[in-house]
């Protein structure tokens, strides 16, 4: 059967007007058909209502039926509707589509203030969620200390493998490059006033105190924090978290705690490895670019840095791990049903974790300055 364009023509039969419909009244022609129908509806206004003869319609579907119904609502009478289409037409005419939806207008100062207010409330709610997660972790950590058998070593080791061991290559590479870049910049600029030997002090102190731990924490937030959020979020979406809860298990204890513990163990180790790789990179650049023999580099390094600098960097690592873990898990458990919300929360998790890591670093800097470390 060949489908043809729909038609709706005026014809006079037995002394009265009739609209004669023909062709395919189907989805493919819905656009043209709508124009025909609306034109016909305009034309009938004021006139005596004509009948619509559908004997010659060759194909008919819900689109055609809907437009016919639109025409019928203007008062037109339908004649000769073929029997095989009658069921569909009746189905359509009985469909209750409700009133057309009115979308509330979103303009003006009022709605902007509303947006601002909502954003503020959402931000506070976010902080509250993070604080609540921190509290929940502390509680289940307390429970764990009283009943150590409830720790899930398999889960901890599994996550340790993922966030620690598997992260080693990329962390080594990045920190190695950063160490090299700092050394190169130092040599290039210090050379102007003959102070290139001090590049060793700069690389050593900067890497051990700040850059090592900061780069590693940011890498881990992007790498592991995002995967924590996505995992917990999709578990939340598929009601796995609810299933755990109904079995009498605490999701924080089962899902969150092993992840956070793994991060707290892994991040100091990664920080140590990263700092060493950065110093190694700095040393290599000093040798090949600055012409400083490694023996001299190591000797100067021994003078420049003390164990204090190393401690300052390492002390920060577990706290940063805690921040990353808490933010990632809190965001993960706030995922709603849609795929979009999963993406939003994952983004929020990484952005907030990195932001808080840097804020924390600043607070530590003030603290260590105050205690002369």
């Amino acid at each position: 059967m060949v489908s043809t364009a729909p038609t709706l023509t005026r014809a006079a039969t037995q002394g009265r007007f009739e609209l004669e419909a023909g062709g395919s009244w189907t989805a493919s022609y819905a656009n043209e058909l709508e124009r025909l129908v609306d034109a016909a509806a305009q034309g009938t206004r004021g006139d005596a209502l004509p009948a619509i003869n559908l004997a010659n319609v060759s194909a008919f579907d819900t689109y055609g039926a809907w437009l016919l119904e639109r025409l019928r609502k203007t008062g037109a009478e339908i004649v000769n509707l073929p029997e095989r289409y009658r069921g569909l037409f009746e189905e359509i005419t009985s469909a209750d589509i409700g009133a057309p939806a009115r979308r509330p207008g979103r303009r003006g100062l009022g709605s902007r203030l509303e947006t601002l207010g909502r954003a503020t409330v959402a931000m506070l709610a976010d902080l509250a969620a993070i604080a609540a997660m921190l509290g929940a972790i502390c509680v289940s950590l307390g429970n764990l200390l009283r009943h150590p058998a409830r720790l899930r070593p398999t889960s901890v080791v599994h996550h340790l493998d993922r966030v620690g061991w598997q992260a080693v290559p990329i962390i080594l590479l990045i920190t190695f490059l950063i160490g090299g870049i700092i050394a190169q910049q130092g040599i290039f600029h210090f050379r102007k006033f003959g102070a290139d030997a001090y590049v060793v002090d700069m690389v050593g102190i900067l890497v051990l105190r700040e850059i090592g731990v900061l780069i590693v924490a940011i890498m881990v937030a992007g790498r592991s924090g995002s995967s924590y959020t996505a995992e917990l979020g999709s578990m939340k979406m598929r009601e796995e978290v609810d299933a755990l809860r109904t079995m009498g298990l605490d999701p924080v204890e089962v899902l969150v705690l092993p992840r956070v513990i793994a991060l707290i163990i892994a991040l100091p180790m990664l920080t140590f490895l990263g700092s060493m790789a950065a110093l190694y990179g700095g040393g290599l650049v000093a040798w090949f670019y600055g012409g400083m023999h490694p023996d001299i580099f190591i000797a100067r390094l021994k003078e420049a840095i003390s164990i204090t600098h190393f401690k300052v960097g390492m002390i920060k690592a577990p706290f940063m791990a805690l921040v990353i873990g808490v933010v990632a898990c809190a965001q993960g458990l706030r995922v709603k049903g849609s795929a979009e919300s999963l993406g939003l929360q994952t983004t929020a998790s990484v952005v907030k974790a990195i932001f808080l890591v840097i804020v924390l670093d600043g607070l530590f800097a003030m603290f260590f300055a105050a205690i002369d470390m």
Binding site: T26, N31, E34, A59, R84, L88, I92, A95, G98, P100
Partner: protein, 264 residues
Amino acid sequence: MPMSETAGEAIRVRDLVVGFDERVVLNGVSIDVKRGEVFGFVGGSGSGKSVLLRTIIGLIPKRAGSIEVLGANLAVTSEAEHRGIERRWGVLFQHGALFSSLTVLQNVQFPMREYLRLSPRLMDEVARAKLAMVGLKPKDHDKLPSELSGGMTKRVALARALALDPELVFLDEPTSGLDPISAGEFDQLIRTLQQTLGLTVFMITHDLESLQTVCDRIGVLADGRIVAVGSISTMREVEHPWVKAYFRGRRAEALSRRLSTAPS
């Protein structure tokens, strides 16, 4: 386009073999689904019904055999022809597969937006009419899929599958998870649409009542092949142990007694 008059097969599968790694799921499946019929497809859990459906619609690659849908061999059609065929079928996935970031109404409008050039008013009205036809109240049209119950999700998914008034619809367990009344209405709806639109329906189901009330023919899949094809009455004659257990089991007997005594 309704083609109830057109003779021939909507789906023609010959000697289909599908497997994953070592495991062969479908081993030499051949079926014909005629245009304008409701073809019910049954089989035990894990027998490969969904695999067959997903292979026919091209989501799973086949190892051997041929598949023709609406007269076109999908293995050799061009990209454009393939899209043309896809526009003429609708699929209801087992779990609805609604787009979670779109509202119910937008889900139904999605295929219309992609394939038809409609005025916003008509698109809105037809989408709402389709939702009303599958039994959704106007107040639910602007909800998100995550706010729907299981039955409502199924209905919206059916409305989306029917959005373009396809010639062929694939239904993967359409009535599972619905209460018996809704399931009955759903069957009736499928019947009405099938009759008015000349729709061909390929339906995977476990629902004996659907099989009895709406299906013209039934195919049974067991051990990776089709073991029986025919109407419900011929199914009762088949001696294959699974078919026998299914169509002559306690539930089936009770149902057929109820259906035969009920005033029709």
